[in-house]
C-alpha cells in the first residue's frame, strides 16, 4: 500500500514557532524570584589553588550565595570521575570552575565574581599531547594517575597476517594527518535553570540525553534520581556538546539548594568557546597497504587525541573512529591504537560524527593518494574496495542494506582536474563514509520508549523519550504516527521534554533517533491502530483485513462509502460501560550487541553510507580555495522526509566545509584567542556553494519504513573531499585541516620551485 505521509517532504514541526520567535530556549525561561548564577573560572591553565577569599563578594548587596569547593559534598564527576563540580586544590585548564555565585541580577553576580580573590601558585602546563606523553614530561595534569595517558584503545586482527600483507603489498603509504580544535558553535549557548524545593529538584536544561543526565546529576549532587525532574526547553543546537552533564549545572543545583530559590546560569559566547566541549584535535599516523590492482590489504592507525584537562564522553570517540579504520572499505588486516592524552587545554568532547570526521579525513585522503600512486582513478579505487550488503567487517559489524557504491558513483562524476580560466585551477574530489545508522549499542540498552494515545477528538499524542535538538526528529515521528493511524501530521503532537512524562531513552546521539525512536513510535502507533481496527470492524460490520486508515477515517477498502471517523471510534470506546482508552506503548531496542573487550560486535542494526563530491577553484596567486559545488549522496535507507534530509545535508556540508577550510579554535597557553564569530570563521551564507543532496534508498529491513540515520553522516566526508579536490586542482596534498590559503599557496610555491629546478 503506498504511503501517504512517509516519504513526502513536510515542514518542520517547530519551524513556525522558531521563525516567529516564539520558541522558548533556556535564555527565555524565567521563574518568580529567580536568581542569576555565574561561575568564576580559572584564568590560568594549570595552577594550585592556595586560597579563595569570598568575603567581599558575600557582603555585596544582592548576592545570595557564594559557593566554593569547601561548601560542596566533593563528589567526583565526569566520565572516569576525574573532575569536580568546583575545583578544590588545583585548576587544570583555563575556564575551570572555581566558585559559583547567585545574585538578584546578572550584573550583581558579575560584580560579585570580580570581588572573589583567588591565590594561585602557577604550575608548568602542557598543551601538546605528544609532549604530554614524552618520557621526560614532568607535568602531570592529574598527579594521582602517574601519567598523562587517560585511556587507550587497541584493536587488531591477526598480527602475522597483517605483517605478511604489508610485506606483500605493492604500495604502502604512510602519512601523518593532523586535525585542529573546532567547536560546534550552536546558536544557543549552554545554560540551565535549577529549582530545588521540598526535596525535589526540577532542572530545565538543553541536554541531548535527559535520562542519562538525570543519573549523572544524581551522582554529582547526591539528590536521589527519583527526586530529579529534567525538563528540556527548546534546544538551539546540540551537536554532541550537550551530551555531558557540565560542572556548572551541578553548581547551579547547589546554588538553588542553599538559597531555596530558582537559579539560572547562561553561558556567554566566550564561555561557550572556552568551556563547552569542542571536537578533539587528533594526530593520525596512518598506514595503508594495497596490491597493484588497488585492493586494500591492510590499514594501521596510531592516533593521539588531545583530551584536554578532563574526560568527557568525547574520550570515547576512538570507539567510532576505529570503525572507520577497520571497516570503511573492505580491508582484511587492521591494527588500531589510540591514546587519549590529558593536557591543560580545554577538554574536548563529542561533536557531530563522534571522531569520525577526523578518521575519515585520514582514510579518504589515503584512498586518493593510493589511486594517484597506482595511476588509478579515485572512483575506481573506491568502488573495487567498497563495502557491500552481506559483508561482515573485521570488527564483526554486519552490513545489511548498503548502497555505498551507488553513492560513490553519484558523487564521483567527472573527478580530477577540470578546465578553468587563467590564474585559476579547478578540480573535483571525492570521499566516502561509513557511520552507524541503526543506533549504537554503547550502553547495555540502546532503547527508546514511546507511548501513543489517541483522544476522542481524533488527536494523537506521542510521548517519546527522543530529544529533538533541532535535527527534526519531532517532524519525522509525527509523520510516522500520522502514517500508521491515517491522520494528518498536524493531528499528532509530540511531548518529549519532561522526564516526568516521557518514557525512557538513551538520548539523541549516534544518529539514532529516526531509527530507534522511529521504530518505537511506529510500534506504539501500530498497537493503537489494531485496537482501532477491531472496533471499526464491529461498527462497520466488516472484516478487519479489508479496512483502511486514511484521512482520519477508517473505511472499507473497496467500498469507501462505508467509513467511520477515527474520533467517533474513540468516543464509542469511551462512552460505554467498561470502555477503554486508546493507548499503545512500545520499547524498541535494536537487535545488536555490545562490543566485547576486543572491540568485536555488531553495535548497530544498520550502517549509513555516503559520499561527497566537491568541486573547487583554487586561485594560483593567493591560494584561496573557493568551493563551487558539493554533490552529497547519502544512503538513507528510506527518506521519510526528503526535505528534512536536504536540510541535514546542507547543514552537515556547511559544517564540513568550515572544518575543511576556515574553522579553527586557536589556543595560546590553553586560552581560546578567537572566542568570537569574527575571528572563529564559520562560513556564512554567501560562502556556501550549491549543495546537491542526492538521496539513495536501500530499504533497510530493520528500519522504520526502511530508514537509517543521517544526522552525523552528512558532515563526515566533506573535509577529505575538499582536500582531495584541492589535490585534483593543484597537485598539492594538504594533510592538515583547515586548508587555509596560506597552506595552499605554500604548497603551490613548493611545486613551482621544484618545477623550476
Amino acid at each position: 500500500m503506498p504511503e501517504m505521509i512517509v516519504g513526502k517532504s513536510a515542514t518542520k514541526y517547530d519551524a513556525f514557532a522558531k521563525v516567529i520567535g516564539e520558541a522558548q530556549y533556556i535564555q527565555d525561561l524565567t521563574q518568580p524570584r529567580m536568581l542569576w548564577g555565574k561561575i568564576l573560572r580559572s584564568s590560568l591553565p594549570h595552577a594550585r589553588i592556595l586560597n579563595i577569599d569570598t568575603s567581599k563578594a558575600e557582603k555585596l548587596l544582592g548576592v545570595k550565595a557564594v559557593l566554593t569547593a569547601k561548601d560542596l559534598p566533593g563528589r567526583r564527576i565526569g566520565f572516569g570521575n576525574d573532575n569536580e563540580v568546583l575545583k578544590r586544590n588545583k585548576v587544570r585548564c583555563v575556564g575551570d570552575e572555581i566558585a559559583a555565585v547567585a545574585a538578584v541580577d546578572e550584573a550583581t553576580a558579575i560584580e560579585a565574581m570580580s570581588l572573589i580573590k583567588v591565590e594561585f601558585e602557577p604550575l608548568t602546563a602542557v598543551f601538546d599531547p605528544e609532549l604530554a606523553m614524552a618520557e621526560n614530561c614532568n607535568v602531570l595534569v592529574h598527579e594521582s594517575r602517574g601519567s598523562n595517558l587517560s585511556l587507550e584503545y587497541h584493536f587488531e586482527t591477526d598480527e602475522a597476517a597483517l605483517a605478511a600483507s604489508l610485506d606483500q603489498a605493492a604500495v604502502v603509504l604512510e602519512d601523518r594527518f593532523t586535525l585542529p580544535f573546532v567547536t560546534s558553535s550552536a546558536m544557543a549557548t549552554h545554560g540551565c535553570m535549577a529549582l530545588y524545593r521540598n526535596g525535589e529538584l526540577t532542572i530545565w536544561t538543553p541536554t541531548q540525553v535527559p535520562f542519562l543526565y538525570q543519573h549523572e546529576l544524581m551522582m554529582a549532587t547526591g539528590i536521589p534520581g527519583n527526586r530529579i525532574r529534567v525538563i528540556q526547553p527548546t534546544i538551539g543546537g546540540g551537536f554532541g556538546a550537550k551530551l555531558d552533564m557540565y560542572p556548572y549545572e551541578a553548581a547551579c543545583v547547589h546554588l538553588s539548594m542553599v538559597t531555596g530559590l530558582p537559579v539560572k546560569i547562561v553561558f556567554t559566547r566566550e564561555e561557550e568557546f572556552q568551556a563547552s566541549r569542542p571536537r578533539q584535535p587528533m594526530i593520525i599516523d596512518l598506514v595503508t597497504a594495497a596490491d597493484r590492482d588497488g585492493h586494500l590489504l591492510a590499514r594501521k592507525a596510531k592516533v593521539i587525541c588531545d583530551n584536554g584537562a578532563y574526560n568527557s564522553w568525547g574520550s570515547t570517540t576512538p570507539f567510532v573512529g576505529m570503525q572507520t579504520i577497520s571497516s570503511l572499505y573492505r580491508v582484511p588486516n587492521v591494527r588500531y591504537d589510540a591514546q587519549i592524552v590529558y593536557t591543560n587545554n580545554p577538554y574536548s568532547g563529542a561533536m557531530r560524527g563522534y571522531g569520525n570526521p577526523q578518521h575519515t579525513f585520514a582514510v579518504e585522503s589515503h584512498m586518493d593518494m593510493l589511486a594517484a600512486k597506482l595511476g588509478m582513478d579515485p572512483l575506481t579505487v573506491r568502488l573495487i574496495n567498497a563495502n557491500q550488503s552481506g559483508d561482515v567487517t573485521p570488527q564483526k559489524m554486519k552490513i545489511t542494506s548498503c548502497a555505498f557504491s551507488e553513492t560513490l558513483r553519484e558523487a564521483g562524476k567527472e573527478l580530477g582536474s577540470l578546465p578553468s580560466e587563467p590564474g585559476k585551477l579547478r578540480g573535483k574530489g571525492i570521499a566516502g563514509l561509513l557511520h552507524v545508522g541503526g543506533g549504537a549499542r554503547v550502553y547495555r540498552s540502546d532503547g527508546c520508549g514511546a507511548v501513543v494515545k489517541l483522544d476522542d477528538m481524533g488527536r494523537a499524542v506521542l510521548l517519546t523519550g527522543a530529544t529533538d535538538m533541532g535535527q527534526g526528529s519531532d517532524t519525522i515521528l509525527t509523520q510516522i504516527v500520522a502514517e500508521v493511524l491515517g491522520l494528518e501530521i498536524k493531528d499528532v503532537k509530540v511531548i518529549n521534554n519532561d522526564t516526568n512524562l516521557t518514557p525512557w531513552d538513551v538520548g539523541s546521539h549516534a544518529s539514532r533517533t529516526t531509527f530507534i525512536a522511529g521504530n518505537a513510535a511506529k510500534i506504539a502507533a501500530e498497537k493503537v491502530r489494531s485496537q482501532l481496527i477491531t472496533a471499526a470492524a464491529q461498527i462497520l460490520n466488516a472484516n478487519p483485513d479489508q479496512l483502511l486508515l486514511r484521512n482520519k477515517r477508517i473505511m472499507v477498502e473497496d467500498a469507501p462509502e462505508r467509513f467511520v471517523d477515527i474520533g467517533k471510534i474513540v468516543r464509542s470506546l469511551h462512552f460505554k460501560q467498561d470502555g477503554k482508552l486508546l493507548v499503545g506503548e512500545a520499547f524498541y531496542d535494536p537487535p545488536t550487541e555490545m562490543q566485547d573487550n576486543q572491540f568485536l560486535g555488531n553495535v548497530s542494526a544498520a550502517y549509513a553510507f555516503g559520499a561527497h563530491g566537491v568541486e573547487v577553484e583554487v586561485d594560483r596567486a593567493t591560494g584561496v580555495v573557493k568551493v563551487l559545488k558539493v554533490a552529497a549522496a547519502h544512503d538513507v535507507g528510506k527518506a521519510i522526509n526528503p526535505l528534512a534530509i536536504q536540510g541535514q545535508i546542507e547543514g552537515g556540508c556547511a559544517m564540513g566545509l568550515g572544518y575543511a577550510l576556515s574553522e579553527e579554535m586557536k589556543l595560546r597557553e590553553g586560552r581560546v584567542i578567537n572566542a568570537n564569530f569574527l575571528d572563529y570563521r564559520l562560513l556564512t551564507a554567501v560562502d556556501i556553494p550549491e549543495i546537491e543532496g542526492i538521496i539513495v534508498e536501500s530499504d533497510e529491513q530493520e528500519g522504520p519504513f526502511g530508514a537509517k540515520g543521517i544526522g552525523e553522516a552528512c558532515c563526515i566526508p566533506t573535509g577529505a573531499a575538499v582536500a582531495n579536490a584541492v589535490y585534483a586542482a593543484t597537485g598539492v596534498r594538504i594533510k592538515e585541516l583547515p586548508i587555509t590559503p596560506a597552506k595552499v599557496l605554500e604548497g603551490l610555491n613548493k611545486m613551482r620551485s621544484t618545477f623550476d629546478t
Binding site: L661, S662, L678, D679, D687, T740, P741, L745
Partner: protein, 287 residues
C-alpha cells in the same frame, strides 16, 4: 564591571564642546558603536562616558562642492556609502569598498568616521581613501583643521586626532571616468571578515603609458600605507607583465606585516604581491 557609564547625546557641535570641558580622556565618541562597544565590552577601553554623536545633524550628509570635492559627513553609514548616487558616481571605489565590509546589519550602523578614527590597520575604507587623496576635517572647541588622510594614521588604533577633536567630514576629490580604480580585499570568507590584506589601486593612463599611479595597502603594516616606490616605478611605464611584477615586488618590500590570529606575516607578504598584481590587471580591464 567597574563603575557606571555616563551617556550624553548632544544635538549640535555647539552642545558638544561644553561637555568636553572635563573628563576628556575618559570619553568615547559613539558613532555606530561597532568598534567602540565591542572594545568596551572586552575591557580594552578605560572609559567612563560615551558621547553619542548620532544626533548631530551637521555630521551627516553627502554633497558635492563647486571644486569637485565630495563632502561626506563623518556619520555616513557604510550602507549609505555603497548606495548613495553621488558616491556611486563620483567615488565608485569607495562605494565598492564599503560593499565588501562586514554584513548588512553592521553596514547599517557602522560609519566612515568610525572606521577611520578606529584606525585599525585593516580598516577597509583607508586604502581607497588613501589612493583618492582624501582629506579629513577635524573640529574642536579651538576651531577646525584639515588633514590629509596620509597624515591621519599614526599607529595601530592611533590617529592624529587631538583629545577632544571630532572628525566632521571626509572630503574626496571626485574621480574622473578615465580613472582606473579598484579595491581588492582578501579575507578567509566572503562576508563578515577582516582583511588579511587589502589593496587599492588608482591608475591614470595615456594609451598604454601610466601617467599617475596610486597604490595603498591595508592590514600589512602598523597603519594603512601608500606605496611610494611602486607608484614612482609605474609612473611613465608601459603596463605589462614585467612592470606589474616589479610594482608588486616593490609593494611587498614596503609592507611590514605581522602574524596574528588571522594569518601569518609570510602569507600577508605573498598576498600583497598577488593582490597588487590582480588590482593593476583589473584596472587595465576597465575602459
Amino acid at each position: 564591571m567597574t563603575g557606571t557609564l555616563k551617556y550624553e547625546t548632544p544635538h549640535s557641535l555647539a552642545e558638544l564642546w561644553p561637555l568636553l570641558v572635563s573628563d576628556r580622556e575618559l570619553t568615547g565618541f559613539l558613532a555606530g558603536g561597532t568598534d567602540l562597544i565591542v572594545k568596551y565590552k572586552r575591557k580594552q577601553l578605560n572609559l567612563t562616558r560615551f558621547i553619542d554623536l548620532k544626533n548631530i545633524e551637521s555630521l551627516k550628509g553627502i554633497w558635492l562642492d563647486e571644486n569637485k570635492n565630495l563632502h561626506i559627513g563623518s556619520l555616513t553609514t557604510l550602507t549609505e556609502l555603497h548606495t548613495h548616487p553621488l558616491i556611486q558616481k563620483h567615488a565608485p571605489l569607495l562605494a565598492a569598498a564599503a560593499r565588501k565590509m562586514a554584513s548588512v546589519q553592521i553596514r547599517n550602523r557602522a560609519t566612515i568616521g568610525g572606521n577611520l578614527c578606529n584606525a585599525a590597520p585593516s580598516a577597509d575604507l583607508a586604502p581607497p581613501l588613501l589612493v583618492l587623496d582624501a582629506v579629513v576635517k577635524l573640529e574642536s572647541d579651538q576651531g577646525a583643521r584639515e588633514l590629509s588622510i596620509k597624515s591621519l594614521f599614526t599607529g595601530p588604533g592611533q590617529t592624529a586626532l587631538k583629545i577632544g577633536e571630532v572628525m566632521t567630514e571626509v572630503m574626496v576629490p571626485v574621480s574622473e571616468p578615465s580613472d582606473k580604480v579598484t579595491y581588492l580585499k582578501q579575507g578567509l570568507r566572503q562576508a563578515m571578515d577582516i582583511a588579511m590584506a587589502g589593496v587599492a589601486v588608482k591608475l591614470n593612463m595615456s594609451g598604454n603609458l601610466c601617467q599617475e599611479a596610486a597604490i595603498a595597502l591595508g592590514a600589512v603594516a602598523p597603519t594603512p600605507i601608500r606605496v611610494k616606490a611602486a607608484e614612482e616605478w609605474l609612473r611613465g611605464q608601459r603596463i605589462n607583465e614585467q612592470s606589474i611584477a616589479k610594482a608588486a615586488e616593490l609593494a611587498k618590500i614596503a609592507a611590514n606585516p605581522i602574524s596574528d590570529v588571522r594569518t601569518t606575516a609570510d602569507y600577508r607578504s605573498e598576498l600583497v604581491s598577488a593582490l597588487v598584481t590582480k588590482a593593476i590587471q583589473e584596472c587595465m580591464t576597465q575602459v
